[in-house]
Amino acid sequence: MNWLIQFLRRLSMLFRRAQFDRDLDEEMRLHIELREKEFREKEHSETGFPPEEAHMAAKRNFGNSLALREVSHDSWGWSWFEHLSQDVRFAFRMFAKNPGFTAIAVLTLALGIGANTAIFSFVYGVLLAPLPYRDASRLVVLNETTPKVGNVSVSYPNFLDWRTASKAFSQMAAVQQMGFNLAGASVSQPENIVGGAVSPNFLSMMGIRPLLGRDFDPSEEKAGTAPVVLLSYPLWQSHFGGDRGAIGRTITLDERSFTIVGVLPPDFRWLDKMDVMLPIGVWATNNPDATDRGARGDNTTIARLAPGVTFAQARAEMNAIAAELAKEYPRQNGGGGVAQQSIRDAYVSNTRQALLVLFGAVVFVLLIACANVANLFLVRGAARTKEIALRIAFGASRSRIIWQMLTESLVLASLGGILGLALAIGGIHGMTRLLPTDTFAGAAVSLNAPVLLFVALVVVFAAFVFGLAPAMHATKQDIQSELKEGGRTSTAGAWQNRLRAVLAVGEISLALILLAGAGLMMKSLYNLMNVNPGFRTHHVLSMEIDLNPQRYAKDPAILNFWQQVLDHVRALPGVEGAALGTVVPLTGNHSRTDITIEGMPLPKPGDWPHPDFHEISPGYLRTLGIPLLRGREFTDADNEHSSLVGLVNEKLARQFWPNQDPVGKRFMFGHPDLSGKNPPKWITVVGVVADTKLYGLQNPSRLEVYDPLRQDASSDMNLLVKSNVDPAAMISAIRSAVASVDKDQAIFAISTMDQLRSDSVATQRLTLVVLGAFSALALILAAIGIYGVISYSVAQRTHEIGIRIALGAQRGDVLRMVLKQGVQIALIGVALGFAVSIGLTRLMSSLLFSVGADDPATFASAAILLALVALFACYIPARRALRVDPMIALRYE
């Protein structure tokens, strides 16, 4: 309490400083006057003073009133503040006197700080911001692994066994993703929404409480439980206007009524989109997947580590459980294992590497910017030596002057920081637009408080980095010689030139690192874009239709719907072709299953061929432009009444029928029933198609088989439309064509194939664009840096150059003399940068595609480009040296 009153007392003094000083002056004056009077009155006695002496004696008795005033002033504890505000005012006066210097320095810093801010707001939002779960570091996402494809979803029976057997996890929950059609009075147009069917303990395990209503009850885990949902906050807002009365009402999903029992909090985040949440018992109702150990659908399993259990202990336990289950169920679990990752890693997945590379790059940009500004300060410091020497002579302490100069740096860096924030807002906006919308799964990337704190730290850091050396240097000079000479031949000059050259070398080596990184990304992206995906993306539109199982329960109804949609869409003007397929490449969706090749020796569990399979309509290959290599494609005659046919891709044909004609060979889905009860359903291969890049351009093609939709009906299909006009212009016509078949049917995931292809390389492209921008910035700054050094040295040596020319030096000699220093700086910088970047680019190798992290061509190009730019930057001042008129240069002496 007392300290607070004291502080308030100090504060009130701060605001009445002028009054304070006047009071103190008056008080001291009175004291001296009274003392003087006393001395004078003693004049008549034996100890008295004559009047003039009395005044002096009184003053002497009092002491140094100026110093005492200062000490009194200091006792209120505000001297630091007064010095600071004085220094800040002084800094602004200095800047106003040198607008050019100030503008360049502030702009340079703004670019450096702005770039840092933009990147850090991504790093913070994605990698650092706390996840909205209780004790999120103890949450683990679990997957099964299979020998053929790596991580897969956990089948529900396996999940149940894991949960029972595991002691390392205090809780475990499953989240099954379900799609629903939402149609009816509450929506203007039928839409597809995503539901998460969760184990009833999910929310409490995550530490989330519904905003309104209730959490699920343990009894709701059983199949056959009443259909209830929790609404996500956005859905509650958009469809119910945030009405609290929504609780207890119903929402119609796939023509079933679900009772709304609650609303999720606004900050709820999940790995996948989740518009509604429902108890897993609803998902399990009449669902064969709920009891099929081999069915690995859209399940995410999440668990909380028990107190005191480490990640590694849990992994060991889970591996043992998985091994046990593999022994027990070799057909479904053979060769399988468990993968676990922290929930943070599950969110971040592959963006961490790119973000860290960019963050590293942006720190380099800041260092280059600081080096440049330090260089500017050194040049200006040279012009200010006389002023500083004068102030030292008048008694200013060295530390006081260093602080004053650091204050100048701080003010400059703050101005740069403010401008940088404005640039960062633009940068964040631009970068977000380069990424597919759901890249960061709901991470908030913005200029929030932690980002602003980071900017403040960067400003202080930058101010010290570029301000300290010039400030130390400026106060180091010999006052005497400075005052006498005017500083032209100061001994500190050599030291300063060396420092400036070192800064330029540093800038060039950092620039080379950035250039090499950007070059590697450019080459990598070029390689990626030139990968043949196995299909054409031009003018093809893709969209998903997931039929409502209530309305379309039987195959004939489903097939009839699809046929009508195809007929209607194909009749639209501008449509060249339309087809249906279960899996669109590059979307991340996939269906895989084991197959048996006729005549092959039966493999061990886990070793079965495990291709991707597609159910497709006739015309699919033509619409997507997938080349048919042999045989024929499907026709309308390949239907539910004809014999089973299939297509295989080249890779599968090569692997299982090498040097044979695959057409006419047979395979079947799944494993043969050895009991002989179910005769094998052999599928005859009628054609071979080219491999496609289903899983992204950078990933190898896998085995693929295709079978006709009419022989294997599916209620969830992608409609692909090839048009001879801009595909985006077709969307509304296609919508109405589908609506004319069923007005309640939702269409979603609408995208052009070009967009999907471009999105699939979005991370690499963003990395390239940002790295490219940084390295261009670095190149310019480094060029300015070396230009500054050389042109300053030319200015300093004008006299010497004049003498040389007067003595008959040739143009070439002068040019060589000036360029020599520049070449030295450039070469040392390039060599240093080369050595460092070879080590650093290895850190980005996971971002690169078919180019080595030490690609010699890229490094050589970066080095040559940088060297040429540096030389050009030196050439400009060198030409100025050639124009030196010896008469003028000598007259200045």
């Binding site: 009071d23 008056e26 009175l30 009092f62």
Partner: protein
């Protein structure tokens, strides 16, 4: 006449004690009172009174207000606060402890 410097740290004590005896005093009066009460042996280095008074203001031991002297001059008068009175007791007992200790050391030596 020989005058002694006041021992360091005792300036506060003397100012507090001086103000405790009188209702309020201005700076010159404080200096003069200390000098007279010490029968001219102790002399405050006069100016140093003022930084000390400022520090005491910050700490809330004294309060200051402007008034006029008997000779009708404007002057700043200082008076003790309750906190200052408490501080006087602390400083005084502390001082006595130190002096007693030193005296004992000197006498036994």
């Amino acid at each position: 006449m020989h005058r002694d410097e006041i021992p360091p740290g005792t300036l506060y004590l003397m100012i507090l004690k001086t103000l405790a005896r009188r209702r309020e005093l201005h700076g010159y009066e404080i200096a003069k009172t200390i000098q007279q009460n010490s029968e001219d042996v102790l002399q405050v280095e006069e100016g140093s009174l003022y930084p000390a008074l400022q520090r005491m203001l910050v700490k809330g031991w004294v309060k200051a207000s402007w008034g006029t002297t008997t000779e009708n001059r404007r002057a700043r008068f200082y008076r003790l606060t309750p906190l200052g009175r408490k501080q006087l007791e602390i400083e005084q007992s502390q001082f006595e402890r130190v002096v007693n200790a030193i005296t004992r050391v000197i006498q036994t030596a």
